[in-house]
Subunit: 312 residues, 2 copies
């Protein structure tokens, strides 16, 4: 750890969008940190090597983690336990082991059960991402101005937590610390429920017999297309999120269904005042999100505007 750098060698397990972006961000932020990516797929490893996304890339996880003082698991949350068990024998004394999974309680449990006592387990979750998957979709600036949540267990070493926080801040992220259960509830609202709803609405449209799929696509600019972006997210990653955050998701889903029933009733009974009141209170949250820099204020997210038409 020269020059007060929090870590000298980062090993990322899983060369997907998030894992590769993390290695690239670390490389870009500081010339001194060595980056290694391990992935089970030889073609993913080849891509990472070809593009120079990390200093080293390998299919051998035991080799990859050897000597790393920061190991970050970037695999679907259902695979954390197995990957943790696989790397356990090679982990360096005092290494910080973290992850980027969207669920934290199950990851904390699964990893605590398999990691050796001589490492610091501090689960984490950068709230950033994109609808595309794989190393080609990665970018070094993915975490800039985005929140990264750390969920250290109660007995975590404060110095290790501080080093992990410093690492995330060095790649442009803002860090918040909370317990794993609260993380899972917050993310159930801000991420898991929205994804479930988006998958559902796109599936609903796909099932209608009376409306052609071509019509759904042609007239999607009325709102539907927004949902298709997050409904295009990785199916395996999302399967694992829902399987591992079951209780919190079902809790917020219950709230959502209640609220939807109230609006459905207002529509059925023609209660315009109730609808207008419900639709009026949602603007403030949008404004808040834009004000704190978590979304753009540009019209339509700043989507490409069509080229000006020519009068012919």
């Amino acid at each position: 750890m020269a020059d007060g750098l929090p870590f000298s060698r980062l090993c990322v397990i899983g060369g997907g969008l998030i894992g590769t972006s993390l290695a690239r961000a670390a490389k870009a932020s500081d010339a001194g940190i060595e980056t290694v990516i391990a992935d089970a797929s030889a073609s993913v490893v080849a891509t990472i090597r070809d593009k120079g996304f990390a200093d080293r890339a390998t299919t051998n996880v035991l080799d990859a983690v050897t000597g790393a003082d920061l190991v970050v698991l970037a695999v679907p949350v259902g695979a954390m336990g197995a990957v943790g068990a696989a790397i356990a024998p090679s982990l360096k004394d005092g290494a910080v082991v973290s992850d980027v999974g969207s669920v934290k309680n199950s990851v904390l449990e699964d990893l605590a059960a398999v990691l050796p006592d001589h490492v610091h387990l501090i689960p984490g979750h950068p709230v950033a991402g994109a609808e595309k998957s794989g190393p080609e979709a990665s970018r070094a600036t993915l975490f800039v101005n985005r929140w990264s949540i750390l969920t250290p267990p109660e007995d975590a070493d404060p110095a290790a937590v501080a080093r992990l926080r410093a690492f995330w801040e060095s790649i442009g992220a803002m860090v918040e610390i909370m317990d794993a259960a609260h993380h899972d509830l917050v993310l159930a609202v801000t991420s898991h429920l929205p994804h479930l709803i988006a998958f559902t609405i796109v599936g609903t449209a796909d099932d209608l017999e009376t409306v052609h799929k071509s019509e759904v696509m042609k007239f999607s600019a009325g709102g539907f297309r927004d949902f298709t972006r997050i409904a295009a997210s990785d199916p395996v990653m999302w399967r694992d999120i829902f399987l591992n955050n079951r209780e919190a998701v079902i809790e917020v889903l219950g709230r959502f269904s209640e609220e939807l029933s109230v609006l459905q009733r207002a529509i059925r009974w023609g209660d315009g005042a109730a609808l207008e009141a419900a639709f009026s209170r949602t603007r403030a949250i949008r404004r808040g999100i834009v004000e704190i820099g978590q979304d753009t204020d540009r019209e339509d997210f700043g989507r490409d505007l069509p080229a000006p038409y020519s009068q012919s």
Copy 2:
């Protein structure tokens, strides 16, 4: 109608985002067409005059429609009948009267009941818009490469329909013709249900006692923020849409709720295979929408990327 132009004077009733964009598009597309906007609000009229968004702007609708051969109502769908009745005495013989409402069956009925026999009623709906309201948010290119749906009644004059189609095409839109009932079902899927869901999910987050509003906003990049954009749409406009497309909305909402229950059950019972299958089939629709040019392929809708961080 010099030079084969479909119309020589356009009168738009309602100087909001859509109405003002329509007048601006008409002005931009062809130097020959005269544009008039009427709005009940003196401040809206003043803005339109100041910015030169139309050749004329007035609060007097009777004056505005006089001599117009195309009159387009751009007011909330619940106001169509009253506005139609108000302008009826001044409508020119043979004028085409259309609208831009997001519901077509109720508009067709409401306007047919009040308009004189000597005009051509051809309801329409440009599937375009933005989360911002008012004339300042308008732009001349709003309809370019977007679909505009016309729903002429069965006995409509084909020549009048052809002229209205030519008008929309002259401002860059693509035109599709269908009956009003089918329009209302298609849009219930592609626009009304997505908006209702977005309003609901934002309202659900607003109601939670266990998650702070500040947390919802901070961690919204995980998916939630996408929903807040359409949930920031105009409350009165949307109230009227739901009140006037009740049956189709309740029909697709029933489908949606069924689908959601199936996924909820799969989560509760840990049925990973069912979840993965459901999440896998939605990518094709996203791909189709991008392929036909109804959405951008850029990551995250091409949202502003954050400025590169500096290592300090």
